[in-house]
């Protein structure tokens, strides 16, 4: 087994310093989260810089750092270009976030919208997809945490995974969305600065020309733009990302939390900035392809940490450690808080206690954050070889959500039955393709089948819809006499 890139002393010091710092900041920011609006939505008035940073940091996941280089290592140029297309998800959601904020200024979750717009049957299938997706996403982040820390520091897999999940959970528990967004800002800066240093340093050491010549001689397939697997992968990532972002409460909650005037620009800016990250991490993997025999890569999803750490020595290992730690913490904290909100609002308040007072809602949300964190640790305990393969499976499902969500937000005549069958048959088609042909294009097929059913069904049987119904989200949608102390409570 290879030696760790960081000595245990350095690794523990960094982990403890960052951990204590982030938890302390979580407590500090959490002091002002005295209402549900503050705890779950940071006051619903987040400005441009914080909104952009939180979107970018959340979308830089463990997969961006590990799977983008993995795809570059396997598919060459198409791996890098295709992965960067995932930024389209943020770009395409910019208009939708404006619409969401306008139609549902007091909304809580994406489930709120689907229930009010299409009714309970569509809501039911949407929730199954949402839960399957966020559990899959949480597991991939937990596994990535254990794996990267093991490679960089020599920590046992379970120790690294539990350490990152616990640190993230503690600051999320106490600070809520205010802490998550504040921490995302710091983590976004860390990610951008450290990645820039690693990329410039690596290419200054070898030179772009040398890497290109090495690829031509040793791995010409990496430069082949007609590589079949690359062509399959190319657009799937962008459409998969649209599915992830259009349906996931992670992004809906950000839309509710941001100030109305910054929603559009923050999603656009974060999308553009984000696209540079897989280009940087993926291009590092090309160095490994160009110089065969120099790097010992036991698992392809470890390409980036191994190459960066071997090229740049202990300092490179430290920079990668910080990037990975920041990327995982920002994504995990967002997933934990928004998934807890989704369950609190769409199950607890819908079925268990519709008139739950403000304090009770926050406490339930906190308990769910802790439960989800423990669930993540339990499900990530045993490592699965291809982390990205697990996530691609969810692509088949979320791809089917794109058109029902977009049509529901904009098209007054969108048909609820069409939305139901679009979600169901789109998911089935995507999963069938995933298991019988290729995992790379499952999201694409799910999206196309779903779009045809959604648009066709609506054109054949248009329904009318009163947009003002959506304004009830977060106020009195669920039951008569329900009180929502938190709405406007801290004004």
């Amino acid at each position: 087994m290879r030696d760790a890139f960081l000595s245990p002393g350095v690794a523990w010091t960094v982990l403890i310093v960052f951990g204590i710092g982030w938890i302390a900041l979580g407590f500090y920011w959490g002091r002002r989260a005295g209402t549900t609006n503050q705890y779950l939505f940071a006051g619903r008035n987040v400005g441009l810089a914080l909104a952009t940073a939180t979107l970018m940091a959340t979308w830089v996941t463990g997969n961006t750092v590990m799977s983008a280089p993995e795809q570059a290592y396997l598919l060459g140029i198409w791996g890098i270009v295709g992965y960067s297309f995932a930024g389209f998800g943020l770009l395409a959601f910019a208009p939708l976030s404006v619409r969401i904020k306008k139609l549902m200024p007091n909304g809580f979750t994406s489930g709120d919208f689907v229930h009010l717009r299409y009714g309970r049957w569509v809501w039911g299938i949407f929730m199954v997809i949402s839960i399957f997706y966020f559990l899959g996403f949480l597991v991939t982040q937990g596994m990535a945490a254990g794996l990267v820390l093991q490679a960089l520091t020599g920590f046992p897999y379970q120790v690294g995974m539990v350490a990152i999940v616990l640190i993230t959970t503690v600051y999320t528990l106490f600070g809520g969305m205010r802490a998550v967004i504040g921490m995302d800002f710091i983590q976004a800066l860390l990610i951008i600065v450290c990645l820039t240093v690693v990329a410039v340093w690596a290419y200054a050491t070898f030179g772009v020309g040398e890497v290109f010549r090495g690829l031509q001689e040793n791995e010409p397939g990496a430069l082949n733009l007609l590589l079949p697997a690359g062509l399959l992968f190319a657009w799937n990532t962008g459409l998969f990302a649209m599915g992830e972002i259009f349906h996931s409460n992670v992004w809906w909650q950000r839309s509710y939390a941001s100030a109305t005037e910054v929603n559009f620009r923050s999603f656009l800016l974060s999308g553009v900035i984000w696209m540079s990250v897989p280009v940087v991490t993926g291009s590092i993997a090309l160095v490994a392809l160009a110089l065969p025999g120099r790097f010992d890569i036991p698992q392809v999803n470890m390409t980036f940490p191994i190459v960066a750490a071997e090229l740049l020595g202990p300092v490179g290992g430290l920079l990668v450690f910080i990037v990975v730690f920041a990327a995982l913490a920002s994504t995990l904290s967002s997933l934990l808080t928004t998934s807890a909100t989704l369950i609190t609002e769409d199950f607890y308040r819908r079925f268990v206690n519709p008139a739950a007072p403000d304090q009770r809602v926050r406490n339930v949300s906190r308990i769910l954050v802790a439960v989800l964190a423990l669930l993540t640790i339990a499900m990530s305990w045993v490592y699965i070889t291809s982390v990205y393969g697990v996530l691609l499976l969810t692509g088949a499902l979320v791809g089917a959500c794109v058109w029902p969500i977009a049509c529901g937000l904009y098209w007054e005549k969108a048909n609820a039955n069409a939305a139901f069958w679009a979600l169901l048959l789109g998911s089935v088609a995507g999963l069938t393709f995933y298991f019988t042909v290729s995992s790379f294009a499952a999201a694409l097929l799910g999206l196309v089948v779903s779009a045809v059913i959604m648009v066709g069904g609506t054109l054949l049987r248009p329904q009318s819809f009163d947009w003002s119904t959506l304004a009830k989200a977060g106020t009195s949608a669920r039951s008569e006499g329900e009180t929502r102390e938190h709405v406007g409570g801290e004004q």
Partner: protein, 64 residues
């Protein structure tokens, strides 16, 4: 499941399996993916501009 739909799904799966690792399939999916991406983006942008124009004209009428 009826006999017809069972046969249809069996044929569809067999057809898809025969296309595995096929360059034609890869190019087809690339083209379909491009069209799907562009169509989705155009739909969202056009609807966004349409609803924004409605909002602006609504505000103008209110002011008048």
């Amino acid at each position: 499941m009826s006999g017809f739909s069972l046969a249809a799904s069996t044929i569809a799966i067999a057809l898809l399996q025969s296309l595995e690792d096929n360059f034609t399939l890869a190019v087809s999916m690339f083209i379909v993916g491009f069209i799907a991406t562009v169509t989705t983006v155009i739909f969202v942008v056009v609807m966004h501009l349409s609803t924004r124009d409605q909002d602006v004209s609504g505000k103008d009428e209110d002011q008048a």
